[in-house]
Structure formats: structure tokens, C-alpha cells
Symmetry: C2
Subunit: 259 residues, 2 copies
């Protein structure tokens, strides 16, 4: 028996903040045929919460430092508030879902990023995805919903890049499943001109990627997304697309990563 | 093959707040033979967080009203921060655990408490425990860790009494398992004199319970605990004990609920 393709969807924080778009996204995600997995960030909601609690966000050259208070807020906001609300909303749409972080079922084990010039704090790099456990949920027709928090073997919760989490899950699951990785964010895809939302590059292969990198067309936020995408493609993931919240329904213009 | 007894442990919020005792509790819980389930509250941590965020806690005759901000804070603090930290700490103790609220895997479905004289807000009464799914986790040697949050069929997250959640899970699981329900809290058991911590009543049967009720010996917080305990005992749960954090190691004085 051929299994249906496993759809792994990463949704960006800015989409979650927009209630109308997010509701439409959840409708479309709920309508996707199983098996499927959702990975979410939380955008500015954690920063807003940290600010309300009087925690200062430390930055280094535009990148956030995850100090002990930050990881606490992220665990509350991403791991609790957003994650449980997504699961509840999927249950209301008759999708049996389960919300997890990397500690749950030892599903995403990471190591704390080593300190080099800068100590980025409680940040994790994914080491191992427990594909067996995730697979056992999928076999029960349950949709895992992951917040981008991983856990070390020693029980330390770590803030983790959501795009990396999605790519690592996709790579691990592609041993047993044909997998499709979908990055949903606020743009229609990778843009040739960041100021022109319609300048979507529809296909990017390895050569094109190198050219885009050399020409510095790819902006900061897009760099890890594309890096992760190509790594996933090289490691067994069948199809990778990037685009906005209308992507799940198909039809809309988007970027496809190809060999 | 006879399955080992399923241990269902409810830990009270005041124990969670005491880091030394809580660490000892987690060591002992981790040492318990599987299968086992943990249910936790969060004590004053949610109230403290609400206060930091400037949310007013509404009370009615000493009972909290769970308004929209309260349920948000509870989802963050109980469902996120405390729940994920317990799971991470169990993973560090080589216990594979998974943190859930009632929405996850549709594990604890409730109805919103009907409004009578007072509207207690987003408070749930447990309707159905998904024992099949919980059992599938136990069979994989995974320990479910529940925050006391349930979910309606319509996807509404509801604050739920932790003792009731523990009792309802115990009742549902006792169809397939021999179950032991353990309430761990800040006292050594049910006290004959609330001011004397050593006045533990070691055995309470149905007759004794009626007498204690009539004599108004049982204090407010203990009423739902005992009510739940007797209901669980009448519905298939094999053994029910109440006591402090040393209960898991056995040996310490405690209260046993008997037929």
C-alpha cells in the first residue's frame, strides 16, 4: 500500500499575528488530507509579552539573544498559548491534533549552540528527530503541531529556528514517508526584488540559489529558510515550496525549490 | 499477562512552587515503575503572572472567576511553562514523557460550566477522557503529563479542577488497567484538626466521610478532593491515597480512602 504524501507545513509568526489570515490558514490546513504536521513560530507575540513583563530583549547585530527570561516567555507563549490554541482550533475543525515541543516524547533533541564570539544563550541546534514516535501519532490519524522549542538530553528547553525544525522533521520523516515541505509566510515566495511583492522567483535550483546568494538578492530572513530547504531536498524530501497563506489551497504563485 | 498497576499522581500547586520539594518529588516520580500519569496544577504562579501583566483576578465568595485573560494566563503558565518544564525534567531523568492539555489528542473533553447565580467563566466539567489514546502512549512507555486544562468539542480551552481531571482519568483508565490514584499536596493527608499537621486521619471509608462532612471537619480545599476520591473509588479505581510529597517513596503517614 502506498502511503499518501506527508505534508509538513511551517507557518511564520507574522501570519499567526493576523487573525483573519490565520483563521483562513487553519481552515485550509484542516482541509488537507492526512498525514500532516504543523510547525509554528510566534512572531512578535513573545517579544510583546516579554516587554509587558518588563524583560529587556537583548540583541546582537539584529539577532536576538535568548536569555533565561526569553526562553521562559517563549515556553509560555509558543509552547503554551499559541500551541494549545492551534490544537484546540484544529479539534474544532474535526482534526485530531496534538501540541508538542521537542521535549514531548523526546521528539526534537538538540544541543545548545556553542558560544563563539557571541553567546546567543538558550538556542538549540537540532540533533535528532524521534521519527518513530511522530510516525506512531500519524498512524493514529493524529496531527502533530510543534512549537519551535527543542530540548537537550539533559532536559534544557531551547529556542530553535522554526524553519530548521520543519526541515529536520521533514528529513527524518522522509525515510518512511514521501514528504512535501511547505513554508508559509507573509510573502508569496522568494522575491527577486524585496520591495516588489510580485517579483516571485517561481523556481530555484542549486545553480540559481548560488547566483542569488552571490548577487545578494536573498534577504536576511530568507537565508536560513533557503539553506534549510536545499539541505532538506538533498536529504530525501520530495518537494519543497514557499509562499503565502493561500499556498495550501494551491493555485497561487509561489517559489518551488528544485534539484 | 497481568499489567503492572497504573499509577496516577496529582501534584498540587503549592508543591510545585517549592523548588526543593518539587525536585525531590520529580526524582521519586521518575523512579516509579511505569505505567504512570502525572497531573499538575500551578498554584499561585498563574495569579502572579496575571498580576505582573496587570490583569485583575476576579473572585466570588473566595472562588476565582476564570475570565478571558485568566484562561490565557493559565494556558501560558500551566499548559506551557510548567508543563514543558516538568516534561524536560522527566526526560533528563530518563523518563520519556509527553506534556498535554485536554485539547491534545482530544484527551480531556469537557463542557463549559453552565451559568447559574454566578458565571465562573471559562471553567470546564470533564465529559470524556480519551482512554484509548492515553493507553497508546502508556504502551509505548511514554508518561503523559497533564496540565489541568480541558477543551470543549468546539475548541474552547477551559480551566478545570486538577483533582477532578485526575479522578476522571483514573476512572476512564481503570476499564483497562488496575489503577492507583495518588493525591500529593502540602499536607500529610486529611487532617482531623486543620491546625495540627500531625492529626492525619489514616483511613476514611464512606461512613467516616459522612461523619466528617456532618461535623464540618473537612476544609474547603479538601472537599472536592474527597468527593472526587470517593467517586473514583465507586467507579473502578483500586486504591486512593492522599499525602505529601514523600508519599511516592512510601512509608510516610497518609490518608487512605477505603470502601
Amino acid at each position: 500500500m502506498t502511503r499518501p504524501t506527508l505534508k509538513i507545513v511551517k507557518i511564520g509568526g507574522k501570519l499567526i499575528e493576523d487573525e483573519t489570515k490565520f483563521t483562513e490558514f487553519l481552515d485550509d490546513f484542516a482541509a488537507l488530507e492526512s498525514p500532516k504536521i504543523l510547525i509554528h513560530g510566534g512572531g512578535n507575540l513573545a517579544t510583546e509579552m516579554a516587554s509587558k513583563l518588563g524583560y529587556k530583549t537583548q540583541m546582537h547585530e539584529g539577532r536576538r539573544i535568548t536569555d533565561v527570561n526569553s526562553v521562559k516567555v517563549i515556553t509560555m507563549v509558543y509552547g503554551g498559548l499559541i500551541n494549545k490554541n492551534i490544537v484546540a482550533k484544529l479539534q474544532a475543525r474535526e482534526n485530531n491534533a496534538i501540541g508538542m515541543c521537542g521535549a514531548d516524547g523526546a521528539s526534537i533533541i538538540s544541543t545548545k549552540r556553542p558560544v563563539k564570539e557571541v553567546d546567543f544563550g538558550f538556542v538549540g541546534d537540532v540533533e535528532k528527530v524521534n521519527s518513530g514516535f511522530i510516525g506512531s501519532l500519524l498512524e493514529q490519524q493524529i496531527t502533530p503541531v510543534f512549537s519551535a522549542i527543542s530540548c537537550t538530553k539533559e532536559g534544557m528547553l531551547l529556542n530553535t529556528n522554526g524553519d530548521s525544525v520543519a526541515a529536520e522533521i521533514a528529513k527524518a520523516m522522509s525515510v518512511e514517508y514521501k514528504t512535501k515541505l511547505i513554508f508559509c509566510f507573509e510573502k508569496k515566495g522568494v522575491l527577486a526584488n524585496p520591495k516588489d511583492d510580485l517579483s516571485v522567483i517561481e523556481n530555484i535550483d542549486g545553480e540559481k540559489y548560488k547566483t542569488l546568494l552571490a548577487e545578494k538578492v536573498i534577504s536576511d530572513g530568507m537565508l536560513p529558510k533557503l539553506h534549510n530547504a536545499f539541505e532538506a531536498l538533498e536529504n530525501g524530501v520530495s518537494e519543497i515550496i514557499l509562499g503565502d497563506f493561500k499556498l495550501l489551497k494551491g493555485g497561487s504563485i509561489h517559489t518551488k525549490i528544485v534539484n
